[in-house]
Amino acid sequence: MLEFIQQLINGFSLGSIYAVLALGLAMVYSTLGILNFAYGELITIVGYTVYFANQAGAPFLLAAGLGITFAVVASLLMQFALFRPLRGASFVTLLFASFALSQALQGVFRQAISPRARGIAVPEVFSTFVTIGDIRIGFLTIATLVTALISMGILAAFMRYSRSGLQMRAAATDLTTTRLMGVRANRVILAAFAISGLLAGVAGLLWLARTTQVTPTTGFTPILIAFIAVVLGGLGSIPGAVIGGYIFGMLEVFLQAYLPIGLVPFQFAMALIAVSVLLYLRPEGLMGRRIEEKV
């Protein structure tokens, strides 16, 4: 039972990272219908920023702040350089274009920095443990949980109560009509990419605090997980992305904990198969709506 609770907390913590990751991806998808594969590279950018800031002697918090800033800037640049010229292209074209961008950026990292891993110095407090009763939880686990919940809370409040948030929700329902109502599409789109970058920054920091290193391909696993979470939750649904993230985090932790030893290497494969089965039963995802085509 004790172990179960411990795993539950671990799952919840990991799920929080995944939820923030997925949320960032879903922000852009729900407004523009783009699944940005290069979203993962934002995490890599956070990693390298923190690494270089550290090298230059900046304290961790400053480095973290710079990391998040750079992620936002990079996210906006992606919009200008790639998605804007491609506006109106199909889902698959955009997906593939962002896939190509991701490959190109990896090439840049490899050439400009190094193909090898760079270590990221994380404050020592992250590797300490907190004991509550019989349960021992890593400080990082708690920090992750708290940071993620706060970020999501702020975002939810922003979307719910601010005028820009309302405009973004309107754009997510129907961008064309929103424009016809006088909302500036460009502003909404930029806001979506900025928030996406912000969330990638936060999720990236949490992610890197776990892995403590950055390589040109660091962004690959996070983007896959965000993809899975978003599809699982239902493409286009923002709460769905969060739920998808938590489910996948739980699934990963519990498969890791309770799978027979021989099958542990297949953990990721099994999680994916479980997701595929879910999609088979509910093709539109958990929270997705089935859209009836007008004929």
Binding site: F96, A100, Y280, P283, V295
Partner: protein, 622 residues
């Protein structure tokens, strides 16, 4: 556009493509020395891989990130079957005996790879084709990742990340050429088959293709399995060239490279696949020299790894922005050689004229005796959309050869009624019979196969297919009925044009031709004259009348043009707010008080049934 003719045309097209490829490739093989010959082999194997991928992606329009999995299956099957037993026992000691002792030859291994890949795809495909298109793309990505982790961890069969070696290098330049040529033929012929055509139709418009009887899931499934089998065979060829490989080779890098070739060249064209493979091959060859370090103008450039991947990525981004449909676009080789294209067309026309244009006697005639007089009966059809009652129990029936007009104000439920009948919308209650056969609740493609055809309010032709291909895609359409339909709607002269290029009025006519080609028992026309001028709609009117008479089918027509409806229809049914308020002859309906109220409000009205049967409705305000 007869099936035989178009298959022959596809064969000639494939032959031309293959010949051109050979003209380019042969000098390298014959005089290029060892290094160029091996580059050429890699190019030819890439052609087989991309063409295999194109067979699914290009025709279905569904991006697959998972095809490299089947390449992996093909490669591992080949390794198990061909590595000499002595080496095999060393690397894979726990291999099942029959595999451990196997030492197969080149061709049997390639075929076995195709069969095993195909079988594997057949299992995966059962789940895959049930998904929506976007979910399916994601699922192919999941397939790639799942199988990558299986290759990595199922060491008994794959030796994990260490990989296997010792596949005999049985490939020669000429075997590679033969492989590429065979693949080009298979892919080009598949595209031209009825299944390939139906798949392309579903790519253009999934909904209207199933409303015309195409089983979209089935054709996707067939193409998925077929293309996976090709991919398996191509993976086998690949392994005969590379000899040693590990799971890392069936992952993202090659997936990206193959998709890049396909998209750069033009994913809807077999020629495009070949051209894409050539361009990416060239770029790879060029920049892998850079990766090795070269000197330009005496300056030694540093060795930069990852250059190839980077350059390909940039190339793709530019291509997607400037030429999203790829370099050759949708065109095949004949579209670049006008004399060849016109020769193919002429020979096709000739072969069509040679077929006696007999009046097709389809199953309608035989079932006529048993079915009574109605070709379509809808009983008590009801439908609510989240609480709003769109239809509250409407009866509708049409006799053979009868034209029934369905009119009513906007939102009265006309289109919903057609959608319920054609199985596009699930009904809440009621019953639909076609020729006395109960089709209630069946999916739209089955309803269509029982003899129902329709057109749509907003035109839903297959935009990027030829006019003739539009007409010949539905399964019930035969060479004779399709040809007749094209003729009757005046589309014979434009049949080799892309449907997209037709004028608006002609596109409407094409939609009707496509429906009539299926020799329907009953055809539903949803605002066929919308947006047409009086001259065009008059021509259409007389065409519809003669079609109904000639085919002996029932017609239900929705239109807002009352002038047209009154002159065309034998009977008129008027809907308002989801209920029938009047049924009868045009004269009865036009004098019905409830109809007048529904159309014109409560204002006093007067209908002037003019001398030539022309009807004009005027309010007192005029």
């Amino acid at each position: 556009m007869r099936r035989g003719g178009s298959i022959r045309g596809a064969g000639i097209s494939a032959l031309t493509t293959a010949t051109l490829m050979l003209i380019v490739v042969l000098p390298f093989v014959l005089f290029g020395g060892k290094s160029l010959a091996s580059t050429t082999i890699i190019f030819l194997i890439n052609v087989t891989l991309v063409v295999a991928l194109q067979t699914f992606v290009g025709n279905s329009g569904i991006m697959s990130f998972g095809h490299v999995t089947f390449m992996g299956v093909g490669a591992y099957v080949t390794a198990w079957l061909t590595i000499p037993p002595a080496i095999k026992s060393d690397q894979l000691p726990e291999l099942p005996t029959f595999l451990a002792e196997a030492q197969w030859g080149f061709l049997p291994s390639v075929l076995a790879a195709a069969v095993v890949s195909g079988l594997f795809a057949a299992i995966v495909g059962i789940v895959l084709v049930r998904m929506t298109v976007n979910a399916m793309v994601m699922a192919t990505l999941a397939l790639l990742l799942v199988m990558y982790s299986v290759w990595l961890n199922w060491s008994t069969l794959t030796r994990g990340s260490t990989g296997v070696f010792g596949v005999p290098r049985d490939i020669t330049p000429f075997l590679a050429i033969a492989g590429a040529v065979v693949f080009i033929f298979i892919a080009r012929l598949f595209k031209a088959t009825r299944i390939g055509l139906q798949l392309r139709a579903s790519r253009e418009d999934e909904l209207s293709s199933s409303a015309l009887g195409i089983n979209v899931r089935l054709v996707r499934y067939v193409a998925w399995v077929f293309s996976a089998a090709m991919m398996g065979a191509a993976g086998s060829l690949w392994s005969f060239n590379i000899i040693a490989f590990d799971p890392g080779q069936f992952s993202f890098a090659i997936t990206f490279a193959l998709l890049a070739m396909l998209i750069l060249g033009g994913k809807e064209s077999v020629l495009g696949a070949v051209v894409g493979a050539a361009i990416i091959g060239l770029v790879t060859e060029l920049f892998s020299r850079v990766e090795q370090g070269v000197s330009v103008l005496g300056i030694e450039l540093p060795r930069i790894t990852g250059t190839v991947q980077f350059v390909i990525a940039l190339l793709i981004i530019f291509a997607l922005i400037w030429r999203p449909e790829g370099i050759v676009g949708r065109r095949e080789i004949e579209d670049f050689i006008p004399p060849l294209a016109s020769w193919l067309r002429r020979s096709q026309e000739k072969s069509e004229d040679a077929v006696p244009q007999k009046r097709t006697q389809s199953s309608e005639t035989t079932s006529q005796e048993s079915s009574g007089e109605f070709v379509l009966e809808g009983k008590n059809l009801a439908k609510s959309f989240s609480g709003v009652k769109a239809l509250g129990g409407v009866d509708i029936e049409v006799k053979r050869g009868e034209i029934l007009g369905l009119i009513g104000p906007n939102g009265s439920g006309k289109s919903t009624l057609l959608n319920l009948i054609s199985g596009l919308t699930d009904l809440d209650s009621g019953q639909v019979l076609i020729e006395g056969l109960d089709v209630t609740g069946l999916p739209s493609h089955i309803v269509a196969q029982h003899g129902l055809a329709r057109t749509f309010q907003n035109i839903r032709i297959f935009h990027h297919l030829l006019v003739a291909e539009n007409v010949f895609a539905p399964p019930r359409t035969t060479s004779e009925s399709g040809h007749l339909s094209l003729k009757q709607l005046g589309l014979l002269d434009v049949r080799f044009m892309e449907a997209n290029t037709l004028s608006y009025g002609m596109q409407r006519r094409l939609e009707i031709a496509r429906a009539m080609g299926t020799q329907p028992s009953v055809v539903l026309l949803d605002e066929p004259a919308a947006g047409m001028n009086h001259v065009e709609s008059d021509v259409l009117l007389s065409d519809i009348r003669s079609l109904a008479k000639h085919h002996g089918c029932g017609v239900i027509i929705i239109d807002h043009d009352l002038r047209l409806i009154m002159r065309l229809c034998d009977r008129i049914q008027v809907l308002e707010a989801g209920n029938t308020i009047a049924v009868g002859t045009p004269a009865e309906v036009s004098s019905n008080a409830a109809v007048l109220a529904a159309y014109l409000g409560d204002a006093p009205t007067e209908i002037d049934n003019g001398p030539h049967g022309k009807i004009s409705i005027t309010t007192k305000d005029d």
